[in-house]
Amino acid sequence: MAQEEKIDQIGLLEEEELAAFIDHACELEHPREMVIDVLRAIQKNHGWVPDEGVELTATILGITPIEVEEVATFYDKIFRRQVGRFPIHICDSICCWSNGGEELAEQFQKTLGITFGETTKDGLFTLLPSCCLGVCGQAPAVMIHQKLYGPLQLDDVDELINRLRREASA
Protein backbone atom coordinates (compact mmCIF):
# COMPACT_ATOMS: atom_id res chain seq x y z
CA MET A 1 0.00 0.00 0.00
CA ALA A 2 2.84 2.39 0.86
CA GLN A 3 4.29 1.71 -2.57
CA GLU A 4 1.01 2.56 -4.29
CA GLU A 5 0.66 5.84 -2.43
CA LYS A 6 4.11 6.77 -3.57
CA ILE A 7 3.50 6.27 -7.28
CA ASP A 8 0.27 8.29 -7.29
CA GLN A 9 1.57 11.36 -5.51
CA ILE A 10 -1.32 13.71 -6.10
CA GLY A 11 -4.18 11.21 -5.83
CA LEU A 12 -5.25 10.97 -9.47
CA LEU A 13 -6.76 7.50 -9.04
CA GLU A 14 -8.85 6.02 -6.24
CA GLU A 15 -6.88 3.52 -4.16
CA GLU A 16 -8.96 0.58 -5.39
CA GLU A 17 -8.70 1.79 -8.99
CA LEU A 18 -4.94 1.99 -8.76
CA ALA A 19 -4.69 -1.45 -7.17
CA ALA A 20 -6.98 -2.92 -9.85
CA PHE A 21 -4.92 -1.36 -12.67
CA ILE A 22 -1.68 -2.69 -11.17
CA ASP A 23 -3.16 -6.18 -10.74
CA HIS A 24 -4.50 -6.15 -14.29
CA ALA A 25 -1.17 -4.91 -15.70
CA CYS A 26 0.56 -7.81 -13.93
CA GLU A 27 -1.88 -10.31 -15.46
CA LEU A 28 -1.64 -9.07 -19.04
CA GLU A 29 1.04 -10.18 -21.44
CA HIS A 30 0.93 -6.71 -23.03
CA PRO A 31 -0.01 -4.24 -20.25
CA ARG A 32 0.50 -1.35 -22.63
CA GLU A 33 -2.90 -2.08 -24.17
CA MET A 34 -4.37 -0.46 -21.01
CA VAL A 35 -2.91 2.98 -21.70
CA ILE A 36 -6.19 4.59 -22.81
CA ASP A 37 -8.10 2.96 -19.93
CA VAL A 38 -5.70 4.45 -17.37
CA LEU A 39 -5.63 7.88 -19.03
CA ARG A 40 -9.42 7.93 -19.24
CA ALA A 41 -9.72 6.97 -15.56
CA ILE A 42 -7.33 9.76 -14.55
CA GLN A 43 -9.25 12.23 -16.68
CA LYS A 44 -12.56 11.11 -15.23
CA ASN A 45 -11.32 11.80 -11.69
CA HIS A 46 -9.24 14.89 -12.35
CA GLY A 47 -10.96 16.44 -15.37
CA TRP A 48 -7.77 16.31 -17.45
CA VAL A 49 -4.41 14.53 -17.52
CA PRO A 50 -1.58 16.50 -15.90
CA ASP A 51 2.11 15.56 -16.28
CA GLU A 52 1.83 13.52 -13.08
CA GLY A 53 -0.91 11.48 -14.78
CA VAL A 54 1.35 10.67 -17.71
CA GLU A 55 4.08 9.59 -15.28
CA LEU A 56 1.66 7.56 -13.18
CA THR A 57 0.34 5.76 -16.29
CA ALA A 58 3.91 5.01 -17.37
CA THR A 59 4.76 3.58 -13.94
CA ILE A 60 1.66 1.37 -13.83
CA LEU A 61 2.32 -0.01 -17.31
CA GLY A 62 6.10 -0.28 -17.07
CA ILE A 63 6.75 2.02 -20.04
CA THR A 64 8.37 5.44 -20.36
CA PRO A 65 6.46 8.73 -19.94
CA ILE A 66 7.19 9.66 -23.56
CA GLU A 67 5.55 6.42 -24.71
CA VAL A 68 2.43 7.49 -22.83
CA GLU A 69 2.70 11.07 -24.03
CA GLU A 70 2.83 10.17 -27.73
CA VAL A 71 -0.43 8.26 -27.30
CA ALA A 72 -2.10 10.84 -25.06
CA THR A 73 -1.44 13.70 -27.45
CA PHE A 74 -2.77 11.78 -30.43
CA TYR A 75 -6.34 11.55 -29.19
CA ASP A 76 -8.57 14.62 -29.10
CA LYS A 77 -10.68 13.27 -26.23
CA ILE A 78 -7.68 13.08 -23.88
CA PHE A 79 -6.95 16.53 -22.42
CA ARG A 80 -3.34 17.35 -21.66
CA ARG A 81 -4.33 20.86 -20.64
CA GLN A 82 -6.80 21.97 -18.04
CA VAL A 83 -10.39 22.18 -19.27
CA GLY A 84 -13.59 23.29 -17.63
CA ARG A 85 -15.73 20.97 -15.58
CA PHE A 86 -17.98 20.51 -18.62
CA PRO A 87 -16.02 20.26 -21.86
CA ILE A 88 -18.59 20.76 -24.63
CA HIS A 89 -17.70 18.99 -27.87
CA ILE A 90 -19.69 20.59 -30.68
CA CYS A 91 -19.95 18.44 -33.80
CA ASP A 92 -18.93 20.32 -36.94
CA SER A 93 -19.16 17.44 -39.42
CA ILE A 94 -21.40 17.31 -42.46
CA CYS A 95 -24.75 16.17 -41.00
CA CYS A 96 -24.67 18.69 -38.18
CA TRP A 97 -23.37 21.36 -40.56
CA SER A 98 -26.33 20.74 -42.87
CA ASN A 99 -28.71 21.10 -39.92
CA GLY A 100 -27.57 24.41 -38.47
CA GLY A 101 -24.43 23.26 -36.67
CA GLU A 102 -22.61 26.53 -37.37
CA GLU A 103 -25.45 28.59 -35.91
CA LEU A 104 -25.54 26.29 -32.88
CA ALA A 105 -21.80 26.74 -32.35
CA GLU A 106 -22.26 30.52 -32.53
CA GLN A 107 -25.06 30.34 -29.98
CA PHE A 108 -22.85 28.43 -27.52
CA GLN A 109 -20.07 30.98 -27.97
CA LYS A 110 -22.47 33.87 -27.45
CA THR A 111 -24.13 32.33 -24.40
CA LEU A 112 -20.82 31.48 -22.72
CA GLY A 113 -18.86 34.52 -23.94
CA ILE A 114 -15.94 32.38 -25.11
CA THR A 115 -14.64 31.02 -28.40
CA PHE A 116 -13.45 27.53 -29.27
CA GLY A 117 -10.55 26.36 -27.14
CA GLU A 118 -11.41 28.72 -24.29
CA THR A 119 -12.77 28.08 -20.80
CA THR A 120 -15.26 30.27 -18.96
CA LYS A 121 -13.84 32.31 -16.04
CA ASP A 122 -15.80 30.27 -13.50
CA GLY A 123 -13.97 27.17 -14.76
CA LEU A 124 -17.20 25.41 -15.72
CA PHE A 125 -17.26 25.24 -19.51
CA THR A 126 -14.77 24.66 -22.32
CA LEU A 127 -15.88 24.79 -25.95
CA LEU A 128 -14.26 22.36 -28.36
CA PRO A 129 -14.98 21.52 -31.99
CA SER A 130 -15.42 17.82 -32.62
CA CYS A 131 -15.69 15.59 -35.63
CA CYS A 132 -18.79 13.45 -36.12
CA LEU A 133 -20.22 12.15 -32.84
CA GLY A 134 -22.14 9.25 -34.40
CA VAL A 135 -25.65 10.61 -33.89
CA CYS A 136 -26.13 11.95 -37.42
CA GLY A 137 -29.88 11.30 -37.33
CA GLN A 138 -30.19 13.72 -34.39
CA ALA A 139 -28.26 16.66 -35.77
CA PRO A 140 -27.08 19.12 -34.65
CA ALA A 141 -25.51 17.44 -31.65
CA VAL A 142 -23.01 18.06 -28.87
CA MET A 143 -21.31 15.75 -26.37
CA ILE A 144 -20.56 16.51 -22.74
CA HIS A 145 -18.74 13.81 -20.72
CA GLN A 146 -19.70 11.07 -23.18
CA LYS A 147 -23.35 12.08 -22.99
CA LEU A 148 -24.90 13.07 -26.30
CA TYR A 149 -27.44 15.86 -26.78
CA GLY A 150 -29.37 16.28 -30.04
CA PRO A 151 -31.09 17.55 -31.99
CA LEU A 152 -30.50 20.91 -30.29
CA GLN A 153 -32.41 24.05 -31.22
CA LEU A 154 -30.82 27.44 -30.58
CA ASP A 155 -33.33 27.97 -27.76
CA ASP A 156 -32.12 24.82 -26.02
CA VAL A 157 -28.63 26.20 -25.38
CA ASP A 158 -29.56 28.51 -22.47
CA GLU A 159 -31.54 25.79 -20.78
CA LEU A 160 -28.76 23.22 -21.15
CA ILE A 161 -26.14 25.61 -19.78
CA ASN A 162 -28.36 26.59 -16.87
CA ARG A 163 -29.02 22.96 -16.06
CA LEU A 164 -25.29 22.21 -15.98
CA ARG A 165 -24.69 25.29 -13.80
CA ARG A 166 -27.28 24.03 -11.33
CA GLU A 167 -25.66 20.59 -11.41
CA ALA A 168 -22.30 22.18 -10.61
CA SER A 169 -23.58 24.14 -7.63
CA ALA A 170 -25.64 21.26 -6.20
Partner: protein, 424 residues
Protein backbone atom coordinates in the same frame (compact mmCIF):
# COMPACT_ATOMS: atom_id res chain seq x y z
CA UNK B 1 -43.36 -4.12 -49.24
CA UNK B 2 -41.63 -5.09 -46.07
CA UNK B 3 -38.06 -6.24 -45.65
CA UNK B 4 -37.38 -9.18 -43.35
CA UNK B 5 -35.77 -7.70 -40.26
CA UNK B 6 -32.65 -9.58 -39.21
CA UNK B 7 -30.45 -7.04 -37.49
CA UNK B 8 -33.35 -4.90 -36.30
CA UNK B 9 -35.59 -7.84 -35.36
CA UNK B 10 -35.55 -6.90 -31.68
CA UNK B 11 -35.31 -3.15 -32.11
CA UNK B 12 -37.87 -1.11 -30.21
CA UNK B 13 -37.66 2.66 -29.64
CA UNK B 14 -35.72 3.51 -26.49
CA UNK B 15 -35.18 -0.11 -25.49
CA UNK B 16 -32.17 -2.38 -25.30
CA UNK B 17 -32.71 -6.12 -25.50
CA UNK B 18 -30.55 -8.31 -23.27
CA UNK B 19 -30.17 -12.07 -23.06
CA UNK B 20 -33.75 -13.12 -22.25
CA UNK B 21 -35.28 -11.00 -24.99
CA UNK B 22 -32.55 -11.99 -27.41
CA UNK B 23 -33.03 -15.71 -26.80
CA UNK B 24 -36.82 -15.36 -26.99
CA UNK B 25 -36.56 -14.51 -30.70
CA UNK B 26 -34.05 -17.22 -31.57
CA UNK B 27 -30.83 -15.73 -30.22
CA UNK B 28 -27.89 -18.09 -29.63
CA UNK B 29 -29.60 -20.85 -31.65
CA UNK B 30 -27.08 -20.34 -34.43
CA UNK B 31 -24.22 -20.73 -31.98
CA UNK B 32 -25.71 -23.85 -30.39
CA UNK B 33 -26.36 -25.38 -33.83
CA UNK B 34 -22.90 -24.54 -35.12
CA UNK B 35 -20.95 -25.78 -32.12
CA UNK B 36 -22.89 -29.05 -32.15
CA UNK B 37 -23.11 -29.82 -35.85
CA UNK B 38 -20.56 -27.83 -37.83
CA UNK B 39 -16.84 -27.67 -38.27
CA UNK B 40 -15.07 -24.29 -38.49
CA UNK B 41 -14.46 -25.00 -42.21
CA UNK B 42 -18.17 -25.51 -42.81
CA UNK B 43 -19.00 -22.17 -41.22
CA UNK B 44 -16.33 -20.37 -43.23
CA UNK B 45 -17.69 -22.03 -46.36
CA UNK B 46 -21.23 -20.93 -45.54
CA UNK B 47 -20.12 -17.33 -44.99
CA UNK B 48 -18.27 -17.42 -48.32
CA UNK B 49 -21.36 -18.87 -50.05
CA UNK B 50 -23.56 -16.18 -48.53
CA UNK B 51 -21.71 -13.50 -50.49
CA UNK B 52 -21.53 -11.28 -47.40
CA UNK B 53 -19.37 -8.24 -48.04
CA UNK B 54 -17.81 -6.10 -45.31
CA UNK B 55 -20.24 -3.53 -43.93
CA UNK B 56 -17.58 -1.11 -42.65
CA UNK B 57 -17.18 0.71 -45.96
CA UNK B 58 -14.67 -1.18 -48.09
CA UNK B 59 -17.02 -4.03 -49.01
CA UNK B 60 -14.39 -6.75 -49.12
CA UNK B 61 -16.02 -10.23 -49.27
CA UNK B 62 -15.95 -11.56 -45.70
CA UNK B 63 -15.56 -15.20 -46.76
CA UNK B 64 -12.43 -14.36 -48.78
CA UNK B 65 -10.96 -12.36 -45.93
CA UNK B 66 -11.54 -15.32 -43.64
CA UNK B 67 -9.92 -17.67 -46.15
CA UNK B 68 -6.63 -15.76 -45.83
CA UNK B 69 -6.68 -16.40 -42.12
CA UNK B 70 -4.32 -19.13 -40.89
CA UNK B 71 -6.92 -20.69 -38.59
CA UNK B 72 -4.82 -23.83 -38.12
CA UNK B 73 -1.66 -21.98 -37.05
CA UNK B 74 -0.52 -22.66 -33.48
CA UNK B 75 -0.36 -19.93 -30.82
CA UNK B 76 -2.56 -16.93 -30.08
CA UNK B 77 -4.75 -15.51 -32.84
CA UNK B 78 -7.16 -12.61 -32.57
CA UNK B 79 -10.56 -11.55 -33.83
CA UNK B 80 -11.08 -7.79 -33.63
CA UNK B 81 -14.38 -6.02 -34.17
CA UNK B 82 -14.11 -2.52 -35.55
CA UNK B 83 -16.72 -0.32 -33.85
CA UNK B 84 -14.83 2.92 -34.36
CA UNK B 85 -17.60 4.17 -36.68
CA UNK B 86 -16.44 7.77 -37.03
CA UNK B 87 -17.10 8.57 -40.67
CA UNK B 88 -19.54 11.50 -40.80
CA UNK B 89 -23.00 10.30 -41.83
CA UNK B 90 -22.45 6.82 -40.43
CA UNK B 91 -24.23 5.84 -37.22
CA UNK B 92 -25.76 2.42 -37.96
CA UNK B 93 -23.47 0.37 -35.67
CA UNK B 94 -24.31 2.67 -32.79
CA UNK B 95 -28.03 2.13 -33.40
CA UNK B 96 -27.59 -1.63 -33.73
CA UNK B 97 -25.65 -1.94 -30.48
CA UNK B 98 -28.03 0.32 -28.58
CA UNK B 99 -30.91 -1.96 -29.62
CA UNK B 100 -29.49 -5.47 -29.49
CA UNK B 101 -25.88 -5.93 -28.29
CA UNK B 102 -26.07 -9.74 -28.04
CA UNK B 103 -26.16 -10.02 -31.83
CA UNK B 104 -22.59 -8.78 -31.97
CA UNK B 105 -21.58 -10.99 -29.03
CA UNK B 106 -23.03 -14.11 -30.65
CA UNK B 107 -21.52 -13.11 -33.99
CA UNK B 108 -18.11 -12.69 -32.36
CA UNK B 109 -18.25 -16.13 -30.76
CA UNK B 110 -19.37 -17.76 -34.01
CA UNK B 111 -16.74 -15.93 -36.06
CA UNK B 112 -14.05 -16.80 -33.52
CA UNK B 113 -15.06 -20.46 -33.74
CA UNK B 114 -14.96 -20.32 -37.55
CA UNK B 115 -11.50 -18.73 -37.46
CA UNK B 116 -10.30 -20.67 -34.40
CA UNK B 117 -9.24 -17.54 -32.54
CA UNK B 118 -9.29 -17.73 -28.78
CA UNK B 119 -9.40 -14.02 -27.94
CA UNK B 120 -11.65 -11.29 -29.30
CA UNK B 121 -11.67 -7.52 -28.87
CA UNK B 122 -14.46 -5.09 -29.62
CA UNK B 123 -12.75 -1.75 -30.31
CA UNK B 124 -15.36 0.94 -29.66
CA UNK B 125 -15.24 4.69 -30.14
CA UNK B 126 -15.25 7.17 -27.26
CA UNK B 127 -18.69 8.60 -28.04
CA UNK B 128 -20.32 5.14 -27.81
CA UNK B 129 -19.76 4.69 -24.08
CA UNK B 130 -23.44 3.80 -23.64
CA UNK B 131 -23.11 1.03 -26.22
CA UNK B 132 -19.84 -0.11 -24.60
CA UNK B 133 -21.72 -0.50 -21.30
CA UNK B 134 -24.43 -2.54 -23.02
CA UNK B 135 -21.75 -4.75 -24.55
CA UNK B 136 -20.01 -5.30 -21.20
CA UNK B 137 -23.34 -6.35 -19.71
CA UNK B 138 -24.14 -8.63 -22.67
CA UNK B 139 -20.70 -10.26 -22.44
CA UNK B 140 -21.18 -10.90 -18.71
CA UNK B 141 -24.57 -12.47 -19.45
CA UNK B 142 -23.09 -14.62 -22.22
CA UNK B 143 -20.33 -15.76 -19.87
CA UNK B 144 -22.85 -16.70 -17.18
CA UNK B 145 -24.84 -18.65 -19.78
CA UNK B 146 -21.75 -20.63 -20.82
CA UNK B 147 -21.41 -19.05 -24.30
CA UNK B 148 -18.06 -17.44 -23.49
CA UNK B 149 -15.20 -19.03 -21.56
CA UNK B 150 -13.68 -22.49 -21.50
CA UNK B 151 -15.12 -25.47 -23.39
CA UNK B 152 -18.15 -23.54 -24.72
CA UNK B 153 -21.28 -25.76 -24.74
CA UNK B 154 -19.06 -28.83 -24.39
CA UNK B 155 -17.44 -28.24 -27.79
CA UNK B 156 -13.88 -27.96 -26.50
CA UNK B 157 -13.71 -24.42 -27.97
CA UNK B 158 -12.46 -21.63 -25.65
CA UNK B 159 -13.07 -17.92 -26.24
CA UNK B 160 -12.57 -14.71 -24.26
CA UNK B 161 -14.08 -11.41 -25.36
CA UNK B 162 -13.00 -7.91 -24.30
CA UNK B 163 -14.35 -4.41 -24.89
CA UNK B 164 -11.66 -1.83 -25.63
CA UNK B 165 -12.60 1.86 -25.46
CA UNK B 166 -10.93 4.50 -27.62
CA UNK B 167 -10.46 8.25 -27.15
CA UNK B 168 -11.44 9.83 -30.47
CA UNK B 169 -9.80 10.18 -33.92
CA UNK B 170 -11.21 8.89 -37.20
CA UNK B 171 -7.94 7.21 -38.27
CA UNK B 172 -8.56 4.47 -35.69
CA UNK B 173 -11.14 3.07 -38.10
CA UNK B 174 -8.30 2.11 -40.45
CA UNK B 175 -7.63 -1.46 -39.42
CA UNK B 176 -3.89 -1.28 -38.88
CA UNK B 177 -4.15 2.05 -37.03
CA UNK B 178 -6.80 0.37 -34.90
CA UNK B 179 -4.40 -2.46 -34.08
CA UNK B 180 -1.76 0.05 -32.98
CA UNK B 181 -4.41 1.77 -30.90
CA UNK B 182 -5.36 -1.54 -29.29
CA UNK B 183 -1.72 -2.24 -28.48
CA UNK B 184 -1.44 1.15 -26.80
CA UNK B 185 1.03 2.70 -29.22
CA UNK B 186 0.60 5.81 -31.36
CA UNK B 187 -2.07 4.83 -33.88
CA UNK B 188 -0.54 5.62 -37.25
CA UNK B 189 -1.48 3.05 -39.87
CA UNK B 190 1.00 0.24 -40.55
CA UNK B 191 2.68 -0.65 -43.80
CA UNK B 192 0.94 -3.50 -45.63
CA UNK B 193 2.09 -6.21 -46.26
CA UNK B 194 2.35 -7.89 -43.88
CA UNK B 195 -1.43 -7.92 -43.64
CA UNK B 196 -3.10 -8.41 -40.26
CA UNK B 197 -4.01 -12.00 -41.20
CA UNK B 198 -0.29 -12.78 -41.13
CA UNK B 199 0.95 -10.29 -38.58
CA UNK B 200 -1.69 -8.26 -36.78
CA UNK B 201 -2.38 -7.58 -33.12
CA UNK B 202 0.78 -8.13 -31.02
CA UNK B 203 2.39 -9.55 -34.16
CA UNK B 204 -0.10 -12.43 -34.32
CA UNK B 205 -2.63 -13.46 -37.00
CA UNK B 206 -5.65 -11.17 -36.70
CA UNK B 207 -8.90 -10.58 -38.53
CA UNK B 208 -10.64 -7.22 -38.26
CA UNK B 209 -14.35 -7.06 -39.16
CA UNK B 210 -17.03 -4.39 -38.80
CA UNK B 211 -19.90 -4.64 -36.26
CA UNK B 212 -22.67 -5.10 -38.83
CA UNK B 213 -20.62 -7.67 -40.73
CA UNK B 214 -20.20 -9.81 -37.62
CA UNK B 215 -23.81 -9.29 -36.50
CA UNK B 216 -24.89 -10.88 -39.79
CA UNK B 217 -23.06 -14.16 -39.09
CA UNK B 218 -25.65 -15.71 -36.72
CA UNK B 219 -28.38 -14.98 -39.30
CA UNK B 220 -26.38 -16.63 -42.08
CA UNK B 221 -25.86 -19.71 -39.91
CA UNK B 222 -29.54 -20.07 -38.96
CA UNK B 223 -31.06 -18.95 -42.28
CA UNK B 224 -28.52 -20.39 -44.69
CA UNK B 225 -26.31 -18.85 -47.36
CA UNK B 226 -28.87 -19.03 -50.18
CA UNK B 227 -31.62 -17.38 -48.15
CA UNK B 228 -29.20 -14.62 -47.22
CA UNK B 229 -28.26 -14.06 -50.86
CA UNK B 230 -31.91 -13.84 -51.85
CA UNK B 231 -32.58 -11.02 -49.41
CA UNK B 232 -30.81 -8.59 -51.75
CA UNK B 233 -32.63 -7.07 -54.74
CA UNK B 234 -29.80 -7.07 -57.27
CA UNK B 235 -27.87 -9.99 -58.80
CA UNK B 236 -24.50 -10.51 -57.18
CA UNK B 237 -25.57 -8.75 -53.98
CA UNK B 238 -26.64 -10.36 -50.75
CA UNK B 239 -28.35 -9.61 -47.47
CA UNK B 240 -29.98 -6.61 -45.92
CA UNK B 241 -28.19 -3.42 -44.95
CA UNK B 242 -28.61 -0.77 -42.31
CA UNK B 243 -29.20 2.59 -44.00
CA UNK B 244 -28.65 5.56 -41.70
CA UNK B 245 -30.42 8.61 -43.13
CA UNK B 246 -29.22 12.13 -42.32
CA UNK B 247 -28.91 15.63 -43.69
CA UNK B 248 -31.94 17.27 -45.28
CA UNK B 249 -34.34 14.30 -45.32
CA UNK B 250 -37.64 14.74 -43.52
CA UNK B 251 -36.95 11.48 -41.70
CA UNK B 252 -33.42 10.97 -40.39
CA UNK B 253 -33.57 7.48 -38.95
CA UNK B 254 -31.84 4.17 -39.51
CA UNK B 255 -33.65 1.46 -41.53
CA UNK B 256 -32.88 -2.16 -42.34
CA UNK B 257 -33.56 -2.57 -46.07
CA UNK B 258 -32.33 -4.85 -48.83
CA UNK B 259 -28.99 -4.36 -50.50
CA UNK B 260 -29.83 -3.06 -53.98
CA UNK B 261 -32.76 -0.82 -53.06
CA UNK B 262 -33.02 2.09 -55.54
CA UNK B 263 -32.04 5.55 -54.33
CA UNK B 264 -35.53 6.81 -55.15
CA UNK B 265 -37.11 4.56 -52.53
CA UNK B 266 -34.71 5.80 -49.88
CA UNK B 267 -35.39 9.43 -50.76
CA UNK B 268 -39.16 9.24 -51.26
CA UNK B 269 -40.42 6.38 -49.08
CA UNK B 270 -38.01 6.24 -46.15
CA UNK B 271 -36.49 9.69 -46.05
CA UNK B 272 -39.96 11.14 -46.63
CA UNK B 273 -38.62 13.57 -49.22
CA UNK B 274 -36.61 16.70 -48.54
CA UNK B 275 -37.62 18.99 -45.71
CA UNK B 276 -39.24 22.35 -46.20
CA UNK B 277 -40.71 21.23 -49.52
CA UNK B 278 -37.34 21.72 -51.19
CA UNK B 279 -35.89 19.55 -53.94
CA UNK B 280 -33.28 16.81 -53.66
CA UNK B 281 -29.99 18.05 -55.04
CA UNK B 282 -27.41 15.46 -54.08
CA UNK B 283 -26.44 12.91 -51.47
CA UNK B 284 -23.47 11.11 -50.08
CA UNK B 285 -24.65 7.51 -50.58
CA UNK B 286 -22.43 5.82 -48.02
CA UNK B 287 -20.61 8.22 -45.73
CA UNK B 288 -18.33 11.23 -46.07
CA UNK B 289 -15.83 9.47 -48.35
CA UNK B 290 -18.30 8.44 -51.08
CA UNK B 291 -18.69 10.60 -54.22
CA UNK B 292 -22.01 12.44 -54.53
CA UNK B 293 -25.05 11.09 -56.31
CA UNK B 294 -27.46 13.57 -57.89
CA UNK B 295 -31.11 13.66 -58.93
CA UNK B 296 -30.16 11.88 -62.16
CA UNK B 297 -29.17 8.82 -60.09
CA UNK B 298 -32.62 8.23 -58.59
CA UNK B 299 -33.00 4.83 -60.25
CA UNK B 300 -29.54 3.58 -59.39
CA UNK B 301 -29.58 0.53 -57.13
CA UNK B 302 -27.70 1.03 -53.89
CA UNK B 303 -25.22 -1.83 -53.88
CA UNK B 304 -21.45 -2.20 -54.23
CA UNK B 305 -21.31 -2.92 -57.98
CA UNK B 306 -24.05 -0.55 -59.18
CA UNK B 307 -22.54 2.41 -57.34
CA UNK B 308 -19.07 1.68 -58.66
CA UNK B 309 -20.53 1.87 -62.17
CA UNK B 310 -21.61 5.48 -61.54
CA UNK B 311 -18.21 6.40 -60.02
CA UNK B 312 -19.41 6.37 -56.46
CA UNK B 313 -19.26 3.84 -53.62
CA UNK B 314 -21.72 1.96 -51.40
CA UNK B 315 -19.52 2.63 -48.35
CA UNK B 316 -21.44 2.23 -45.11
CA UNK B 317 -24.84 3.13 -46.66
CA UNK B 318 -25.17 6.16 -44.42
CA UNK B 319 -27.12 8.39 -46.83
CA UNK B 320 -26.74 12.16 -46.26
CA UNK B 321 -29.07 14.29 -48.39
CA UNK B 322 -28.59 17.88 -49.54
CA UNK B 323 -31.42 20.15 -50.65
CA UNK B 324 -31.39 22.48 -53.65
CA UNK B 325 -30.26 25.44 -51.53
CA UNK B 326 -27.01 23.73 -50.54
CA UNK B 327 -23.73 25.10 -51.87
CA UNK B 328 -21.80 22.00 -52.90
CA UNK B 329 -18.49 23.90 -52.67
CA UNK B 330 -19.25 24.69 -49.04
CA UNK B 331 -20.41 21.11 -48.35
CA UNK B 332 -17.21 19.73 -49.87
CA UNK B 333 -15.15 22.23 -47.87
CA UNK B 334 -16.80 20.92 -44.70
CA UNK B 335 -16.01 17.32 -45.67
CA UNK B 336 -12.39 18.05 -46.61
CA UNK B 337 -11.98 20.01 -43.39
CA UNK B 338 -12.93 16.86 -41.50
CA UNK B 339 -10.42 14.68 -43.37
CA UNK B 340 -7.64 17.27 -43.12
CA UNK B 341 -8.11 17.57 -39.37
CA UNK B 342 -8.31 13.81 -38.86
CA UNK B 343 -5.20 13.06 -40.92
CA UNK B 344 -2.61 11.38 -38.69
CA UNK B 345 0.14 13.31 -40.47
CA UNK B 346 2.16 10.25 -41.42
CA UNK B 347 2.42 10.84 -45.21
CA UNK B 348 2.68 14.10 -47.14
CA UNK B 349 -0.12 13.60 -49.73
CA UNK B 350 -2.54 13.44 -46.80
CA UNK B 351 -0.87 15.81 -44.33
CA UNK B 352 -0.12 18.58 -46.82
CA UNK B 353 -2.39 17.74 -49.76
CA UNK B 354 -5.64 17.82 -47.81
CA UNK B 355 -4.75 21.16 -46.24
CA UNK B 356 -4.07 22.49 -49.74
CA UNK B 357 -7.45 21.24 -51.00
CA UNK B 358 -9.14 22.78 -47.97
CA UNK B 359 -7.51 26.13 -48.69
CA UNK B 360 -8.49 25.99 -52.37
CA UNK B 361 -12.13 25.24 -51.55
CA UNK B 362 -12.22 27.93 -48.90
CA UNK B 363 -10.77 30.49 -51.30
CA UNK B 364 -13.29 29.59 -54.01
CA UNK B 365 -16.19 29.54 -51.55
CA UNK B 366 -15.22 33.01 -50.32
CA UNK B 367 -15.44 34.33 -53.86
CA UNK B 368 -11.69 34.85 -54.24
CA UNK B 369 -11.07 31.91 -56.54
CA UNK B 370 -9.53 32.11 -60.01
CA UNK B 371 -9.55 29.61 -62.89
CA UNK B 372 -6.09 28.53 -61.71
CA UNK B 373 -7.56 27.48 -58.40
CA UNK B 374 -9.94 25.15 -60.23
CA UNK B 375 -7.01 23.67 -62.15
CA UNK B 376 -5.10 23.23 -58.90
CA UNK B 377 -8.04 21.37 -57.40
CA UNK B 378 -8.02 18.95 -60.32
CA UNK B 379 -4.28 18.58 -60.00
CA UNK B 380 -4.53 17.77 -56.28
CA UNK B 381 -7.21 15.18 -56.96
CA UNK B 382 -4.90 13.45 -59.43
CA UNK B 383 -1.89 13.59 -57.15
CA UNK B 384 -3.42 12.70 -53.79
CA UNK B 385 -5.60 9.80 -54.92
CA UNK B 386 -3.53 6.64 -55.07
CA UNK B 387 -0.43 8.20 -53.49
CA UNK B 388 -1.22 8.19 -49.79
CA UNK B 389 -0.02 5.67 -47.20
CA UNK B 390 -3.53 4.54 -46.21
CA UNK B 391 -7.11 4.96 -47.37
CA UNK B 392 -7.88 8.17 -45.44
CA UNK B 393 -6.72 10.63 -48.12
CA UNK B 394 -8.11 8.34 -50.80
CA UNK B 395 -11.51 8.59 -49.08
CA UNK B 396 -11.18 12.35 -48.77
CA UNK B 397 -10.90 12.54 -52.55
CA UNK B 398 -14.38 10.95 -52.88
CA UNK B 399 -16.37 14.14 -52.31
CA UNK B 400 -13.83 16.21 -54.28
CA UNK B 401 -14.16 13.85 -57.26
CA UNK B 402 -17.95 14.07 -56.92
CA UNK B 403 -17.81 17.86 -56.81
CA UNK B 404 -15.66 18.05 -59.95
CA UNK B 405 -17.75 15.42 -61.77
CA UNK B 406 -21.20 16.81 -61.08
CA UNK B 407 -20.85 20.38 -59.86
CA UNK B 408 -17.93 21.93 -61.72
CA UNK B 409 -20.31 24.63 -62.98
CA UNK B 410 -20.95 25.65 -59.36
CA UNK B 411 -17.21 26.16 -58.86
CA UNK B 412 -17.08 28.21 -62.06
CA UNK B 413 -20.06 30.33 -60.88
CA UNK B 414 -18.23 31.13 -57.64
CA UNK B 415 -15.14 32.15 -59.59
CA UNK B 416 -16.95 34.19 -62.24
CA UNK B 417 -19.28 36.11 -59.94
CA UNK B 418 -16.76 36.49 -57.12
CA UNK B 419 -19.23 35.24 -54.53
CA UNK B 420 -21.12 32.22 -53.37
CA UNK B 421 -24.39 32.06 -55.35
CA UNK B 422 -26.16 30.44 -52.42
CA UNK B 423 -25.18 32.84 -49.66
CA UNK B 424 -27.80 35.42 -48.85
Amino acid sequence: MSTPQLLFKNRRPGETVFIDGYKATGGYQGLEMALKDSSPEEIREQVKESGLRGRGGAGFPTGFKWNFFPSGAPGPKYLVCNCDEMEPGTYKDGVLLAADPHQLVEGMILSAFALQTDVGYIFIRYAYEQQADYLRKAIAEAKAAGYIGKNILGSGFDFELHVHGSAGRYILGEETALLNGLEGIRPNPRLKPPFPATRGLFGRPTTVNNVETIANIPHIITGGALWFRDLALTPGSSGTKLYGLSGHFNVTECFELPVGIPLREIVENYGGGIRGGRKFKACLPGGASTPYLTAEHMDVALDFDSLEKVDSRYGTAGVTAFDDQTCMVAATFNLINFFARESCGWCSPCRDGLVMVRWLLETIDNGQGTPEHLEMLKDQLKNIAGNSFCALAEGAMGPLAGLLNHFEQEIVDHIETGKCPFRK
